[in-house]
């Protein structure tokens, strides 16, 4: 199912997409077949992107610009806790770290004790490691591992778990997100947070990410997004709350405004990029 080019007559087709898509993604959530969360096609796509990862004016500029909002979002998650979060020594696990934009920034925070960042693509991880060498301050706090989540030993005690497990701009590239998320949750400490960002599956997000960003403006390379894999916030929320053990789901919708950058716009999680966070019960 490829998105139709934007023509006046395509509105009907868009409606069709809108009607059929949710069921399609629901199916994804039920599938339990493969053993690895990694989609080989996606990996090769990101390998191609690797060289421009740290070019502030390259195709990853939008990600660089979005990165501060990830910290703002984590801060709002922490601020919502009834108990004060620790101010130092926080342990981060960044899944699908790519070139390390978030992982590096997390490691620089005064409150961060350590950051473990993983990515299945060796090319991308090589870029991340090479870039981290350019900041000697990261050496003691940031560890990269070339693996998918399946490759990490499942923690057996809270000491091995993480305060923050982050999965940014990843689930929309995963073939079986439900299964993938189930593999991530054992890594979260009781009282810790799993935070992620992704794109809602609506005609609006299809228009802005597939048509405008990839085709018309070209700020994001073509093929970066597979709209069919987009997940809506209610679906994520439902996934976590279906099983017990999670509380305080939070969402923050963000919109990229040319000339102004990324802005939080409440309600926009229903139509485009959003952050989602949920806390593990004690």
């Amino acid at each position: 199912m490829t998105p139709v080019p934007l023509r006046a007559t395509s509105i009907r087709n868009l409606n069709l997409l809108l009607k059929t898509a949710p069921r399609f993604v629901q199916n994804q959530f039920r599938q339990q077949s493969t053993t690895s969360s990694v989609n080989p096609e996606e990996v090769s796509h990101f390998n191609a992107l690797a060289s421009t990862w740290w070019d502030p004016h390259g195709s990853s500029r939008l990600l660089h610009l979005m990165n501060p909002l990830r910290h703002d979002f984590i801060r709002t998650c922490h601020a919502s806790q009834p108990d004060a979060p620790p101010t130092t020594g926080l342990k981060y696990l960044d899944i699908g770290c790519g070139g390390g934009i978030f992982a590096e920034s997390a490691a620089r925070l005064h409150s961060a004790g350590s950051v473990t960042a993983i990515d299945p693509s060796p090319e991308v991880l090589a870029i991340a490691k090479g870039h981290a060498r350019k900041d000697p301050g990261l050496k003691d706090k940031l560890t990269y591992r070339n693996t998918s989540i399946e490759g990490l030993p499942i923690p057996t005690s809270p000491a091995e778990q993480y305060d923050i497990v982050s999965i940014f701009e990843v689930v929309e590239h995963i073939t079986h997100p439900a299964e993938f998320l189930d593999k991530c949750t054992p890594f979260v400490k009781p009282g810790g947070w799993i935070v992620m960002s992704t794109i809602a599956r609506t005609w609006m997000s299809w228009l802005t990410t597939k048509v405008v960003a990839e085709d018309l403006v070209g700020i994001v390379p073509r093929g970066t997004h597979d709209w069919e894999k987009y997940i809506n916030e209610e679906e994520l929320r439902g996934h976590f709350l279906r099983e017990r053990g999670w509380n305080s789901p939070r969402v923050m919708g963000v919109v990229y405004v040319p000339g102004l950058g990324w802005k939080e716009v409440s309600g926009s999680e229903r139509v485009g990029n959003y952050f989602f966070g949920i806390r593990k019960d004690f």
Binding site: H71, A106, G130, R133, K134, P136
Partner: protein, 491 residues
């Protein structure tokens, strides 16, 4: 004696500086590498230049909770103990004074420095008299009722400011200070086992010491070595004018007494002459004029110099031009000519009766604007980024505006885990300050050019200009808000 000259003299005496002569400003030392000789010390911020901009940057970084964990260093070629221990009797003032806008003062207050500036040496003023020496036209400043008697700006010795800033930096502590040391060279690091420092500036001091900077800040004045290292060009020109400064004693404390002080500025064809109030019966002079006339002024006896200053606010440009051709005897000549000139004494400064010994000095006036304020691991602030004609008293204030903005940018970067040195983290600083400063530079430059013409087609236009300024509320408002730094924030 002029403290600047004092500082200079002791420097020329050649104070011996050992290579490890870095003063740690607080008891607790942050050790970095054990083998300092081999591995150069890495700092988050290395500031070159301990003038008003550089010291203010350090005080701001150390007083902000978000940035107080950063490891910072200051490099200054002069002896900073001279700055810190700055002290003069109540009857003497340093000749380098600046007017600080209320927004600069509130920034200095917010970083905890203003309380350490000796307030008895600061003079707020509430009135301005600005007029055209050729046509006599005046800008009428009709301050709004609620603004009447409000402080337009604060006159202050630069050394009183830097001394207060330095005390604040010492109070906060944890700043590595390398003073009495010049920057010998700035280069880039290397790739080693430890990491890849090829993008990081390394500052070599003439004592042999090397420091590595995550972010190198050039607060190093108009000839900025940092700007040159970063390959950032600058555009501008020399005005072919000098600013003659002096500390003056007047017959009284001003027409309005201690509580209503006035700043005076008269536009002469050679450039503006300004007299700005200091505490008591004192004032500070900034007379922009040609290098030749500046040389004549500096060579005059105190008596003749005083006469020339009084003449500059009273006599016609033709009389002044004649007086400048004389090598001596100005005092008698001015006395005679003044009797035959009509002026409203209440709208000009009181008579100057004395000039502080050794306080007459001159500085070349220039306009410079760096092509950008940021580069990879480099930021420029203050005169290193822009040098402006002093006619609007904005140079130092612009630097404070830069520092406020840069620190805000660094705070954001730190709290969001950005590398504070990379250009992308610094973009908002450049965006916030560049256009604003450029506009201010342009306005002051145009005012200078408009007035630096004695006759010809521009003269009627010029007085028309000043009258138009009187008529045009919004434009005058611009000047008024600039003077106080309260209006549309074009710091």
């Amino acid at each position: 004696m002029n403290p600047m000259a004092q500082a200079l003299r002791s420097r020329q005496l050649g104070v011996y500086v050992c290579t490890a002569c870095s003063r740690q400003l607080r008891r607790q030392r942050r050790s970095y590498a054990a083998t300092a000789a081999k591995t150069p010390d890495i700092y988050d911020v290395v500031c070159i230049g301990g003038g008003p901009a550089g010291l203010s940057l350090l005080a701001a970084l150390r007083s902000s909770p978000a940035t107080s964990n950063l490891k910072v260093a200051l490099i200054e070629s002069q002896d900073l103990s001279k700055t810190r221990d700055f002290t003069l009797p109540k009857t003497e003032f340093s000749n380098r004074c600046s007017s600080l806008t209320p927004s600069s003062v509130s920034f200095l207050d917010s970083i905890g420095a203003w309380k350490l500036v000796k307030q008895e040496r600061v003079q707020p003023y509430q009135e301005m008299q600005v007029w055209d020496g050729v046509s006599g036209a005046r800008i009428e400043f009709d301050w709004p009722a609620e603004g009447k008697g409000k402080t337009i700006a604060f006159m202050n010795e630069n050394l009183n400011l830097t001394s207060g800033l330095l005390k604040r930096v010492e109070e906060l502590g944890d700043v590595e200070v390398f003073d009495k040391q010049r920057v010998a060279d700035i280069g880039l690091g290397e790739e080693t086992e430890e990491g890849d420092l090829r993008g990081w500036p390394i500052v070599k001091l003439d004592g042999g010491r090397e420091v590595v900077a995550r972010l190198l800040v050039g607060a190093d004045g108009v000839n900025s070595p940092v700007r040159q290292f970063a390959g950032i060009g600058s555009k501008g020109w020399d005005y072919g004018r000098y600013g003659v400064v002096a500390t003056l004693e007047l017959e009284g404390s001003g027409w309005g007494g201690e509580d209503l002080k006035t700043a005076y500025q008269r536009f002469l064809p050679t450039g503006p002459v300004a007299m700005l109030p200091m505490p008591g019966n004192y004032s500070t002079l900034v007379w922009s004029t040609t290098p030749e006339l500046a040389a004549v002024l500096k060579s005059l006896s105190p008596k003749d110099f005083i006469a020339m200053v009084n003449a500059a606010f009273r006599l016609s440009p033709t009389d002044l031009a004649f007086l400048h051709t004389q090598t001596e005897g100005q005092a008698d000549e001015v006395a005679w000519r003044t009797q035959h000139t009509d002026f409203d004494a209440s709208r000009i400064p009181q008579q100057v009766i004395g000039v502080q010994e050794g306080s007459v000095a001159s500085f070349p006036l220039k306009l410079r604007h760096a092509d950008t304020y940021i580069g990879e691991r480099v930021a420029l602030v203050g005169d290193a980024a822009h040098t402006i004609h002093p006619l609007a008293g904005q140079g130092l204030n612009q630097g404070q505006g830069d520092v406020e903005s840069l620190v805000k940018t660094i705070e954001y970067a730190v709290t969001h885990g950005q590398d504070i040195g990379v250009q992308m983290s610094l973009e908002s600083y450049n965006a916030e300050r560049y256009a604003a400063n450029n506009m201010m530079l342009g306005v002051c430059d145009k005012i200078h050019k408009l007035y630096a013409v004695e006759s010809g087609p521009l003269v009627p236009l010029r007085s028309l200009g000043l009258r138009a300024v009187n008529a045009l509320g919004p434009l005058k408002q611009f000047f008024m808000s600039q003077a106080s730094g309260t209006g549309a924030k074009i710091l």
